[in-house]
């Protein structure tokens, strides 16, 4: 068996050992993975999907399209002189020493926090993915827009390796063509070398019966900077494990999350930040707006290790429940193993601010519109950090359309 095939087999063995998480597992207490058991197996066929006008239109970006987990080269537009490759192609063409390098892309780090059976399954069964290798000092002049379109279960695996002083912006967008019951199992591995910068957006906007399980694992070297925007609008059940390792001195991460949910949608984000080196900074802002019988789960854990002196960490989670049947379970956690740190965390669950409501109404805005407007403004604050305005407007519109009375509001939204 080749080294690559062996690695895949090891991952499958690991999956069989781990199985799917259960609600007895503390990290999966609120999310029922057993619902996804029958949806695991990918069926990657080109399902005759016409992708014209799908996704974010008018975005000035390089483009990589995956249809049911397979790279659709004809629909893509990639820059010259930069290595942005298909994982499946790499795997197919790998020989000798190359194969060992490529095998590493499928290796499961069993010591990583929040590792679960889905992640092992992903390594075993991934059909394709994007492999970005950005050389030292290279700057990707336009964002890379990775559009995932599906109507079946699919397994994709991305690796973004950003060289020293290199810079990139990557937008992952997940959509469905219909309301098929299916599962997207995705992993994105990010490695940032010294002083590298990545802005990474994930927009989960899949069909109303689709489920989504994701792992985003980031390792940051000295002085590197990682910014994450996670947007959850679609799907029925969505779980993301976001794991950031601040490994080199002076690295910084900025994690933003927004859920706008209704109906019976269930979204769970577990984030874990490990401060392992001195002088690192982490910022985390998660907000949820929950309507109907939707259920949000946020668990944010920051671990400050012994050597990580001068750590500066701030986490905040705000939640608005628009319906008495909606539910949020939030748990910010902080574990600190040295004295020389500045850390803060907090969570709020609540209704809108009475003073703000009255102010708007006293200016002639109806009570209903004022509520909508404040809800939107609350959610939109998470998006302020997003540098790409086309993406931000797209997300605003999509999120906004989910609020109950959005008719008169569109014009009022500040830029």
């Amino acid at each position: 068996m080749s080294v690559l095939a062996q690695t895949r087999q090891d991952a499958l063995n690991l999956f069989e050992k781990l199985g799917l998480p259960t609600q007895r597992d503390e990290d999966w207490k609120y999310t029922d993975a057993s619902r996804l058991k029958d949806l695991l197996q990918p069926t990657p066929t080109d399902a005759n999907i016409h992708i014209k006008d799908m996704g974010i239109t008018g975005l000035d970006a390089y483009r990589m399209v995956f249809i049911n987990g397979l790279f659709a080269e004809a629909e893509s537009n990639l820059p010259e002189g930069v290595s942005i490759l298909s994982l499946a192609e790499l795997e197919k063409n790998s020989v000798g020493e190359d194969a060992e390098g490529i095998a590493k892309l499928f290796t499961v780090d069993t010591q990583a926090p929040l590792l679960n059976g889905f992640n092992a399954f992903n390594a075993a069964k991934a059909s394709d993915g994007a492999v970005i290798i950005l050389a030292d000092n290279a700057i990707l002049t336009k964002p890379l827009y990775i559009l995932h379109i599906s109507n079946q279960s699919n397994v994709v695996r991305h690796s973004f390796m950003i060289g020293k002083h290199a810079e990139a912006q990557v937008i992952e967008h997940f959509i469905s063509t219909d309301d098929t019951k299916a599962l997207s199992n995705t992993c994105s591995f990010v490695a940032l070398k010294a002083e590298a910068r990545l802005e990474h957006t994930r927009i989960q906007q899949e069909g109303s019966k689709q489920s989504h399980v994701a792992r985003v694992q980031v390792k940051q070297c000295k002085g590197s900077s990682y910014q994450f925007h996670g947007v959850e609008i679609g799907g029925i059940l969505s779980r993301t494990d976001l794991v950031v390792n601040l490994h080199g001195e002076g690295a910084s991460c900025d994690l933003n999350g927004l859920f706008v949910l209704g109906g019976r949608q269930h979204v769970d984000h577990h984030t874990r930040i490990d401060h392992k080196a001195p002088h690192c900074t982490s910022r985390e802002l998660y907000r949820t707006v929950l309507d109907g019988r939707s259920h949000g789960v946020f668990n944010g854990k920051v671990m400050v290790h012994e050597d990580a002196i001068k750590t500066d960490s701030n986490m905040s989670n705000g939640n608005i429940l628009l319906s008495k049947h909606a539910e949020i379970d939030t748990k910010p956690e902080l574990e600190i193993y040295n004295d020389d740190v500045k850390c803060a965390h907090g969570a709020t669950i609540g209704q809108l601010d009475d003073k703000q409501l009255f102010y708007l109404r006293s200016r002639g805005i109806s009570a209903e519109t004022a509520q909508e407007l404040l809800t939107f403004a609350f959610a939109d604050e998470v998006l302020v950090a997003m540098s790409n305005q086309t993406v931000r407007s797209y997300v605003e519109k999509a999120a906004f359309a989910k609020l109950p009375h959005s008719d008169d509001l569109e014009e009022m939204l500040g830029s």
């Binding site: 009255f358 002639g364 519109t369 009022m412 939204l413 830029s415």
Partner: protein, 248 residues
């Protein structure tokens, strides 16, 4: 225009207004002065329609209608405006669009067409000039990061754009330096007209040097203790509120 009759108001069981009566006609400027805790802000909040005030007896009639039956937005549509003592910051809500929505909601209520964007912006720029508001404030979130003085100026700017019939200015002068006070007062004076009324709530006579009132009322212990002309404010400044109580 506004007729407050024997108004009794409690907040969390505590009696604040204890039989206050006040008549305000179109074209008049009134000043309501009084010590802290006299009920000045309670009066303005009750007129604007804020929750949390229990009206135990009395009436407020505005242009012949029962004001207390109206929601805050209905009062705004009918021409009532409150310039807040502490304007709240609303991150994410754009200042100009807030006004546009307010103006158009009012016009809709009056059976008028919505203003088109061009006409609206023209008005907005004119009025911003009136209170010397930096145009960059127009595109910012409502009051977010504004200094105390800028917030007050923004209130008067909003008042100018919304063009109310009855304007209540709740301690608009507090926190303003003398230059800002002059500008704000200038803005208010330009809005005076025979079909509008202005009610200024203030601690100090200072504001009245710039906006000359027709009537000065002293509010203490939940009722109007004394009513006079501008000279009453001067006497107050000299002798203090106790003097009023002693010389009712």
């Amino acid at each position: 225009m506004l007729e407050v009759k024997d108004l009794h108001v409690s907040v969390e069981g505590k009696k604040i207004l204890k039989g206050l009566s006040l008549t305000i006609n179109a074209g008049e400027v009134h000043a309501i002065m009084g010590p802290n805790g006299a009920g000045k802000s309670t009066l303005s909040n009750v007129i604007a329609g804020r929750d949390g005030y229990e009206i135990t007896s009395g009436t407020i009639t505005y242009k012949g209608d029962d004001l207390l039956e109206m929601s805050p937005e209905e009062r705004a549509w009918a021409g009532v405006f409150l310039a807040f003592q502490y304007p709240v910051e609303i991150p994410g809500v754009n200042n100009t669009y807030l006004l546009k929505a307010g103006v158009n909601a009012k016009r809709k209520h009056q059976g008028l067409e919505e203003l088109d964007a061009f006409d609206f912006m023209k008005t907005v720029k004119e009025k911003a000039k009136l209170v010397e508001l930096d145009p960059s404030f127009l595109s910012r979130s409502v009051n977010e990061g504004f200094s105390g003085g800028e917030k007050k100026r923004n209130e008067i700017f909003q008042m100018a754009v919304l063009d109310p019939a009855l304007a209540l200015l709740d301690e608009t002068d507090s926190g303003l330096d003398i230059d800002a006070l002059r500008i704000v007062a200038g803005g208010v004076n330009k809005l005076r007209s025979k079909d509008k009324a202005i009610v200024m709530i203030t601690h100090y006579q200072r504001l009245l040097d710039y906006i000359e009132p027709d009537f000065v009322h002293v509010l203490a212990d939940g009722v109007i203790q004394k009513t006079g002309d501008k000279s009453l404010a001067v006497a107050l400044e000299e002798h203090g509120y106790d003097w009023v109580k002693e010389n009712k």
